[in-house]
Symmetry: C2
Subunit: 189 residues, 2 copies
């Protein structure tokens, strides 16, 4: 029988290289299963939350409420679900409600967690949570940070299912979210 513990490395010490607003960069000294030394880079990162807002149209068509924004990493304008970082001490559900309200102006009592994953376990230690929000009520206008320029759009669900991961939908975190949505819908039907 395979001993999976034989794969685990042990951390010996870590050194902070850079404090960045969105993560802290460390160099970590570790010992391999064979007792050899190795050093690895780690982004100590806050957890993330993505909210999938499902809106029923008058004509019976289901839509996702998507936000269009400029992404500084890829230097591209993308169409995505509302998402953001979870604040220290903030619960994922509260973060989901907050991001939904701040980015779209909507609130709902019907919001549930449908998935949680390590988005990039190679060098990040955080968890990315996905929530599904339904029965939205428009509460107020968008409340955006100074740096946030966000336009939002109602997009028919089939269009997002077909195009996710291509063109303006090029964001892997959103692919993760939609995968959880697909599984949730399949298990509910």
């Amino acid at each position: 029988m395979e001993n999976v513990e034989s794969l685990a490395w042990r951390e010996k010490k870590r050194r902070l290289l850079n404090k960045c607003r969105i993560f802290d960069l460390y160099e970590v000294e570790k010992e391999s299963p064979n007792g050899e030394d190795g050093s690895f880079y780690l982004l100590d990162s806050p957890d993330w939350v993505t909210v999938i807002p499902l809106v029923h149209g008058k004509d019976g068509v289901e839509n996702f409420l998507m936000v269009k924004q400029y992404r500084h990493g890829s230097s591209e304008i993308t169409l995505e679900f509302p998402a953001g970082m979870i604040d220290p001490e903030e619960l994922p559900l509260a973060a989901a409600e907050r991001e939904l309200l701040e980015e779209t102006g909507y609130r709902t009592g019907n919001i549930i967690e449908i998935g949680a994953v390590s988005p990039n376990p190679a060098f990040m230690n955080n968890t990315s949570y996905t929530f599904l929000a339904r029965n939205l009520d428009l509460i107020k206008e968008q409340n955006l940070d100074k740096d946030e320029f966000i336009h939002f759009h109602l997009v028919p669900v089939p269009e997002v299912l077909k195009n996710m991961g291509t063109g303006q939908y090029s964001n892997g975190v959103m692919m993760m979210a939609l995968a959880y949505y697909n599984r949730f819908i399949s298990s509910s039907s």
Copy 2:
């Protein structure tokens, strides 16, 4: 009509903070659509490749060839598709063939690209490519880097479809890859 160019920021200059083996960390000064200054962190990163090796069992069951390894970011042992970074000047297809061979010992002539996405466009500028490999031939034993301790397993496809994004399958990059696989299979049937 919405002017999407009104969302784009303009880079003014960038400063290298740390050269790490797997990315370079920059601080980037940018100008907003409104002419205001902002600074952003960027991980200048190599492209990634994930290979989905599909293997037909003697009993007609289709399996994925998965690799079990320790992930330094999450400090967890995960079960994943073979994957890695694309070398400078290396084409994605060549990287896919190389990672497949190095991590599993298999080679095949039947390997195609099924998707490409920005895995984390918020602060990374790279592309993650997904390939599907079929009709595998065992060529040689695994050829692993000194730091790589990898065990591989044949896992029935339905088991991976059901569990991706949970438990030992907690890797968002693998969720992206499987989403492209699902779309490819749907469009082929």
